[in-house]
């Protein structure tokens, strides 16, 4: 190791942007011993994802997914969040950048504000809400959205009456914590960091530019993001679908696709990648909200190219009755007096049709931030001609300045999982860059030794919170204290203005010590956000952190029962009693740790496996690559150029060279895995060649194969070839003759049962080869017969280029596929041209089949070996489609490349880096801590009936040497499904034991009159 470098590099990272991509990068880095500074220009983190109602293609609630992540970021000891902040200058070089950051005044002191919201209630000034897209109002002192992290309020100076007129100060009077500070001047800070990650997020196209659609003029024309808010249960209409003009429930709802995308005139030439899918999702969710709704989506091309996207669109059509119309809308007009909207479009036969709709949603595209060029200048990076950060296909997350990386939509339009994947990918890149500086700037919390409770009776302390007036105005807090203070086990009960404030934490510690408490109940707000805070406090006072319970009397009581003081107080008493009943039975829990073998095993030596291996090796870990073939390289050996023109073989050669010469990588070729045992941190694998490897993580990069067609006379005529074979011909110097006719057929073996998915690469392959043919000889004739051209994102440029240089695109429908016949040396191809509405007969010299991808046949056996599930198409199913795109539910196993789903080279590289980032988080730890909330297994009660075995999602029960069921607590997540199903009650989940739950039930019913 170079000592000089290790002494220079900083162990901290700057993440610019607090959306989901930045959050993922920050968490991965902070969890693997790097200090993270997150800079966010908004008053809280969350970015675009928090505005979405649900996500495709699973319909998961967006906020439910991102909210725990925001809390995790907000509470992380090694993540500092700088809000209302902007970077003003960057100096230095990779490993040591000096960054100046300007922080705008918030006028609310974050260390004093408890987020109770009393100020907001009193503020008299209403302002159109940016978060709700102008569909509702907020106050001049506000938090961005109800679940904001942090939920410290901010004063909007431009609208505040005090700042504008010098009078009001009502928020100051309302704030019992004294957090309002009108004299806040903001500040400028300087940081030294080793690397910088840019994830500033996106802007949406301003559809008002396209006046013909009537946004801003016709009230019932809304943008897609406005419709997200309309759908959202926490949005302006509380999830009820209403028309803005009259509040009436719309029946006929139309989506207009590509608003501001794929259009060079007053709009953006690129494809925004996500609109086809979000419109489909919105149509489905709208139908779920209101079955009367008849959704119609007007589109040019259905670009459902991602994993399981085509199936989702099929379901939209067949199960939800979503009507897809291939048409461009020329104008939207309002029917006077009704608010209804008239859409005019040309049907497939060319006839003009006028159709009435109740509501129109414009699927507006994504674009870089308005200030993205200035932003780039600040960081000294280049942008491409579209103002996105300039990157390279083979280095997808690196900018033009070394040590500065990019993730998310600043790289190009993309959806959530790809953003998250890139978030982990940049984390992987930074770990490789700063590997040796790991742990140099992070802090760990020191705690006093834990008190021994052996033989002690419960001594419970109860703290009931007023939360300013949030609880106290509805619940009689003193009465709650009075009622519970003499309950069995309770030795102390009191109330406090804000339980979460710093002084209350000190008070709580003091009470624990002075009253010799051994259990604590706080009655305040939700455990989802506040439990860790109080747990840390009592741990600081020498108690095991699991000797705590939080009674939620705000979200689940005072806020829901305003104006019903008596009933609310009764309920609060009951909730606190339930918590006390549980607290009596709480026990200190030991959190075990396991050692980690700092090495990885990668299965598959294709580009995904090699990229992951190199990144992990550069991070400082030993890596074993297991490849069943004799050579490394996988499918990439058959690819010569990328769409953008990069030489793939040269790149591959260099990569293989790097792998083979790396001191920390060992390649086992011509070998397969025979047996793997163990768990995260401690795997042991035996290979078919007899080698035994010990490793802490596993990366499955088993790759895919190309579909071998049986259609269209392939194998019967040497004039019928695949795109891959054509590429090989072109590379080997073959040139098309003038007038030679090439006909390409898309979707061969894809997007049809039983392979109802898009292979993602074929449209780009076809266009790449078509352009090369035309460039070699402009007089060659090329026809591409397609269903939808899916040149998503910035790849749209190449589709446009192909059309510009004279490649013919002819669409076909799946039920009217082209018919091919052999005519001597040539091939006759009959297909219907929908533009001309005529039968087209082509006389091709070459028929080129765009064949798709399939999972590697080995995926099945590998999947069985590691008990990882696969989707109906045979690709590995990740832990979570949106937020854990490279993880498996079982800890310590990751996926990368084609084994996960079809994808392009740059996407495979991103995902492989992401797997390295995620794996690096595990390997960087000397010990892994196991949560205290796990299922405990009692062998003496267990009958080994295997019920737990079948239901456990994490594969933690196993058969031991005696042939009986045993339980691996390291793999356990504490969900308790085993405990629910176990007929012998041999499983109990810590802190959710049956006796604890039954005690809560008893406490909940004790005072209820029983009807006799």
């Amino acid at each position: 190791m170079n000592e000089k470098i290790s002494s220079i590099k900083k162990g901290s990272v700057l993440v610019v942007g607090g959306g989901i991509g930045g959050m993922q990068a920050a968490l991965d880095l902070a969890d693997s011993e790097f200090k993270v500074h997150m800079v966010q220009k908004d008053p809280s983190i969350g970015g675009t994802m928090v505005m979405l109602d649900k996500t495709f293609p699973t319909g998961d609630c967006s906020m439910c997914m991102i909210s725990p992540k925001m809390v995790e970021v907000g509470r992380h000891l090694n993540i500092d969040i700088h809000l209302l902040a902007e970077v003003v200058s960057v100096e230095g070089e990779p490993g040591d950048f000096k960054v100046k950051i300007k922080i705008a005044p918030r006028y609310v002191a974050p260390d004093k504000c408890t987020g109770c919201g009393d100020c907001e209630t009193k503020c008299p000034k209403k302002v159109s809400s940016e978060f709700e897209q102008g569909l509702s109002v907020r106050k001049a002192i506000y938090s961005l959205f109800p679940q904001a992290v942090p939920n410290t309020r901010v004063i909007d100076k431009d609208n505040c009456l005090y700042f504008k007129k010098g009078r009001c100060r009502l928020c100051e009077k309302a704030c019992k914590a004294g957090a309002i500070n009108y004299k806040d001047k903001g500040k400028e800070i300087e940081l030294h960091v080793g690397a910088i990650i840019l994830c500033p997020g996106l802007d949406r196209y301003d559809a008002k530019v396209r006046g013909e659609f009537g946004l801003g003029r016709w009230k019932n024309v809304v943008t897609a993001i406005q419709f997200e808010r309309i759908l959202s249960a926490s949005g302006p209409y509380k999830g009820e679908i209403k028309r803005p003009i009259d509040g009436r429930h719309p029946k006929r709802v139309a989506w207009i696709q590509c608003v501001g995308s794929r259009d060079s005139h007053n709009a953006n030439p690129w494809c925004s990648s996500v609109c086809c899918m979000y419109a489909t999702k919105q149509a489905i969710i709208a139908r779920e909200h209101d079955s009367e709704i008849e959704p119609t989506i007007f589109f040019m091309e259905m670009r459902s190219f991602g994993k399981d996207f085509d199936k989702y669109v099929e379901r939209a059509k067949t199960e939800y009755g979503v009507r897809y119309k291939r048409a461009m809308i020329s104008a939207v007009r309002e029917e006077p007096g009704t608010g209804d909207l008239l859409l005019r479009y040309a049907a497939e036969d060319g006839k003009l049709i006028d159709e009435i709709f109740d509501l129109v949603v414009l699927s507006v595209g994504l674009e870089p931030h308005k200030d993205s060029v200035e932003f780039a200048k600040t960081f000294g990076i280049e942008t491409n001609s579209y103002r996105f950060a300039k990157t390279f296909p083979l280095k997808p997350v690196q900018t033009t300045r070394k040590g500065i990386y990019v993730t998310g939509t600043y790289h190009g339009p993309k959806d959530i999982p790809e953003t998250v994947m890139q978030g982990s990918a940049v984390a992987g890149e930074v770990m490789a860059l700063l590997g040796e500086a790991r742990g140099t700037e992070t802090v760990a919390k020191e705690f006093p030794p834990e008190k021994d409770l052996t033989g002690e009776e419960p001594r419970i302390g109860v703290l009931v919170c007023h939360c300013g007036t949030n609880i106290a105005s509805t619940v009689e807090v003193e009465k709650v204290v009075e009622t519970v203070k003499d309950l069995p086990g309770v030795v102390y009960a009191t109330n406090t203005l804000y339980a979460c404030s710093q002084d209350s934490q000190e008070m709580l510690k003091k009470i624990v010590r002075e009253m010799n408490l051994n259990r604590v109940v706080v009655a305040s707000c939700t455990p989802r956000t506040h439990e860790p805070l109080f747990q840390e406090t009592i741990r600081d006072a020498g108690l095991n952190k699991y000797l705590f319970d939080l009674a939620d009397i705000r979200e689940q009581c005072s806020w829901c029962h305003m104006g019903h003081k008596e009933e609310a107080t009764k309920k609060a008493i009951k909730i606190v009693k339930m918590a006390i009943a549980k607290a009596r039975l709480l026990e200190p829990l030991k959190t075990d740790t396991v050692e980690v073998t700092p090495a990885a095993m990668v299965i598959g030596g294709g580009i995904a496996g090699m990229t992951t291996a190199l990144s992990l090796a550069d991070q400082g870990f030993h890596v074993s690559i297991v490849e069943r073939e004799k050579e490394l390289g996988g499918l990439l050996r058959n690819l010569y150029r990328t769409l953008e023109g990069n030489d793939v073989q040269e790149f591959l050669k260099a990569r293989i060279e790097q792998v083979l010469s790396h001191e920390r990588i060992r390649v086992y070729s011509d070998a397969e895995v025979k047996k793997t045992g163990g768990f995260v941190g401690n795997f042991e694998t035996t290979l078919t060649n007899g080698n035994v490897i010990k490793h802490g993580v596993i990366v499955l990069a088993t790759g895919g194969v190309e579909y071998q067609p049986t259609e269209y006379f392939y194998n019967e005529s040497d004039r019928v070839i695949t795109q891959r074979e054509l590429e090989e011909k072109l590379v080997s110097g073959e040139n098309p003759r003038s007038g030679e006719q090439y006909v390409m057929i898309q979707c061969v073996g894809s997007r049809e049962e039983p392979n109802q998915y898009c292979s993602r690469i074929c449209c780009l392959d076809a266009i790449k080869n078509a352009v090369t043919l035309k460039e070699k000889n402009p007089k060659a004739q090329i026809f591409i017969l397609y269903r939808d051209i899916r040149t998503y994102g910035l790849r749209e440029d190449y589709y446009r280029k192909a059309r510009d240089i004279g490649v013919f695109f002819v669409r076909y429908e799946v039920d009217k596929k082209p018919v091919v016949e052999k005519i001597g040396d040539k091939l006759g191809i009959k297909t219907r041209d929908y533009m001309l509405n005529k039968e087209l007969i082509l006389n091709a010299d070459w028929l080129v089949l765009s064949t798709g991808l399939r999972p590697h046949p080995k995926t099945e056996t590998v999947g069985e070996m590691y008990k990882v599930t696969r989707n109906p198409d045979g690709y590995f199913l990740e832990a979570h489609v949106k937020l854990r795109p490279v993880d498996f539910p079982g800890e310590g196993i990751f996926v990368a490349g084609l084994a996960h789903a079809p994808k392009n080279l740059d996407e495979t590289i991103s995902q492989a880096l992401a797997a390295a980032g995620r794996a690096g988080v595990v390997l960087s730890k000397e010990n892994l801590a196991v949560s205290g909330i796990v299922a405990k297994h009692r062998k003496d009660l267990c009958m080994s009936c295997l019920s737990c075995f079948r239901v456990c999602p994490f594969d933690s029960p196993y058969i031991d040497e005696e042939g009986k069921v045993a339980h691996n607590e390291i793999k356990c997540h504490g969900c308790g499904i085993c405990a629910g199903i176990c007929p012998a009650k041999a499983f109990q989940v810590n802190s959710f034991r049956d006796d604890q739950i039954l005690a809560m039930i008893d406490a909940a019913v004790e005072c209820e009159p029983v009807i006799k």
């Binding site: 609630c61 906020m63 439910c64 909210s67 725990p68 109800p146 679940q147 249960a233 926490s234 509380k238 939700t526 455990p527 989802r528 939620d552 705000r554 979200e555 689940q556 009581c557 005072s558 806020w559 829901c560 029962h561 305003m562 019903h564 009933e567 609310a568 009764k570 309920k571 009951k574 909730i575 339930m578 909330i933 239901v951 504490g974 969900c975 308790g976 499904i977 405990a979 629910g980 199903i981 989940v989 959710f992 049956d994 739950i997 039954l998 809560m1000 039930i1001 008893d1002 909940a1004 019913v1005 209820e1008 029983v1010 009807i1011």
Partner: protein, 83 residues
């Protein structure tokens, strides 16, 4: 010997419901979704009868028949499982 059917009938005999009576309902909610939803209801100031109380579970898969039976035995009028 009493026939099994008769036994069942006697248990199921309907009772008078007095006016103003509110059912006592226990909700068993998954920490990650339904419990979060109950929180959101509060944040949005949506109201529901104060006789509904929530018991947090790590996952609704943790729920045991015994919890529900015990609750009914102790006199709750309804159990709501959400997750």
């Amino acid at each position: 010997m009493v026939k099994a059917e008769e036994k069942v009938l006697s248990v199921e005999e309907p009772r008078e419901i007095s006016s103003g009576w509110e059912p006592n309902i226990l909700a068993f909610a998954c920490h990650y979704c339904a419990f979060a939803a109950a929180d959101l209801a509060g944040v949005m100031r949506l109201s529901y009868p104060p006789t509904v109380k929530v018991i947090r579970l790590p996952c609704t898969g943790k729920l045991d028949y015994i919890h529900i039976l015990h609750a009914f035995e102790r006199g709750v009028d309804g159990a709501f499982v959400a997750g």
